[in-house]
Symmetry: C2
Subunit: 341 residues, 2 copies
């Protein structure tokens, strides 16, 4: 099951747990120095290591030829957080290996030779780690990684050297955002080597009050320590979020209800809606669900899945053609009305 189709993720601040490992093959130079031919060989070797009929997981992977994809398909991969923008503007050949449920993806020749990512619904970072570790081992059966006994895994950019691990949660923080407290949290948690960013990573604005929280340091700590540190800081943030939420329910319940139900009304009846507004209204619906202010049965869907499905690429895919911005706003409202009625 693709992680974001699980409605369980509506019930808590943490939407998903993600692990990313950066790896490089020993016998090839880092991206900055490699040739097109070498890039192709890296793709071939990595694909060969992952896709194979001998392992239960190997049969689940397919190679995607990024160059062959149309604009809509590319957009959808970005919207699903499967690939980065960098993979779409390559100077050298790139590759993408995708597990059938899309919970595991491997970018080849992005910043590093290999960037593998595993995602699971909810806060189960251990599950994501286990899966990533398994695939990492699988690949290492066929190739030799660039590894230094003192530094650990060597990477194209030194900020990833060591474990090559970035563990992250996607987390919904509407109360911390609304009260403006999140601004003060960001520098505070930076001191622990943890970063809090908008939905689409570095330099992006948060949408729908959804944030990514992840480790910054990859060196000098074990993977377990990195994940534990992330969990501790995240738990602390969640407690703050919940405290504000409880206070709201106690002292300003009517305002919270008002926001949730107005969002419900607009999503149920609007005829045109921008992505940013829709994300914010869906954020209110999510608040409604986990506070119990709004009943869930009618919309038995992961709100984050809805957030993905109303993005422009997904809309274009559904309609079957490229859409202008206004058309997107209209189709987005159509889909939302249908869902909420």
């Amino acid at each position: 099951m693709t992680w974001y189709t699980d409605p369980i993720a509506n019930d808590a601040p943490i939407i998903s747990a993600r692990v990313r490992l950066a790896r490089n093959l020993k016998k090839y130079p880092f991206k900055q120095m490699m040739t097109g031919k070498e890039a192709l060989m890296i793709i071939e070797e990595t694909s060969g290591a992952v896709i194979n009929d001998r392992t239960a997981i190997g049969v689940r992977f397919k190679s995607q030829d990024i160059k062959q994809l149309n604009e809509t398909a590319k957009k959808m991969l970005i919207e699903k957080h499967i690939i980065s923008h960098d993979l779409l503007k390559p100077e050298l050949p790139v590759g993408l290996l995708l597990q059938d449920d899309e919970n595991v993806s491997i970018m080849i020749n992005e910043e590093d030779h290999i960037r593998m990512q595993t995602v699971s619904a909810g806060d189960n970072i251990a599950a994501s780690w286990e899966l990533a570790n398994h695939i990492d081992d699988l690949i290492e059966e066929s190739v030799e990684y660039a590894f230094d006994k003192d530094f650990g895994y060597l990477t194209s950019c030194p900020t990833n050297t060591g474990t090559g691990l970035r563990a992250s949660y996607m987390i919904h923080l509407p109360m911390l955002e609304k009260t403006g407290k999140i601004k003060f949290l960001i520098p505070a948690i930076n001191k622990f080597g943890i970063a809090l960013r908008g939905l689409h990573g570095e330099g992006t604005e948060p949408m729908g009050s959804i944030y990514q929280i992840s480790n910054q340091l990859t060196l000098g700590k074990s993977e377990q320590e990195i994940m534990q540190g992330l969990q501790n800081v995240t738990q602390n943030i969640i407690e703050k979020e919940k405290m504000i939420c409880e206070k709201m329910l106690e002292k300003h319940r009517i305002d919270l209800e008002n926001n949730v139900y107005r969002a419900y009304g607009i999503l149920s009846f609007g005829k045109k809606i921008s992505l940013a507004e829709a994300m914010n209204l869906l954020s209110e619906i999510r608040v409604g669900f986990y506070t119990g202010v709004l009943c869930q049965p009618k919309l038995n869907k992961n709100i984050y899945q809805v957030m993905i499905e109303i993005q422009n690429g997904h809309l274009q895919n559904r309609i079957g053609r490229k859409l202008g911005e206004e058309e997107c706003e209209i189709y987005r409202a159509d889909i939302l009305r249908e869902m909420f009625n």
Copy 2:
């Protein structure tokens, strides 16, 4: 039937037609000079002239003792446009005569000895005039008006001298307002001796895009000429309003629908709403009804009646006690949800 309970008024820009006549009794000084004793005698004589068992209309009037009314009842009279704020802060005794359906009201010792007002639903100014004229005649059977053969009816403020007539329409102009064109119309029609003002008269902000349009000149023209002039200018404004509306339907139908349906969604689900916002959303609903974008059957009610019923005095009357501003916002939303669901 009280004029604003007629749902027919949803279908056109003109909500109501109103006639006000200013009259003074010859044997008493104008308000500025009169004594408390004289004020009481004016109340007695006017009441005696109107309330009587001999005429079909006379039996329908009752005298209201403003001093005996509580704050809520006073607020309701203002909200229904039956009395002015001035009547509530009198230096001398004042009176109010009210027809059973509230379509006719007579303020005594407001700015003039007598200020009678008749209102009818829709654009039927002739009906309002006929009724006012009839009551005017009825009063004149018992009292002698201050009248000058050259100037006409004499009034406390010279701006009303002559006919003492103010004819007005209450008119819904959402498109002229939204496009900002109304700002240019106001000075333009002033040149014809016609004023366009917000819902509650001079110096008030328009709410729900509802305006009052009325003659400014009372002297040198017959009543028929005054009403004809008002009708001509109003017709012209309505044509402009309709033209913008048709253009919207033709070129931006989806935006018009979006506004109407979002308003419907918020009114159907909101838990708290200010008067100004509710008025603006109801204005959108009214646009929905008369453009046919929204079906009317569900809410078989005059939108203007709803606009009256959600004002603070009416809310307090319904709940049976004085309400704080937040309570008003909550009860207002309750009433609206009930109506729209």
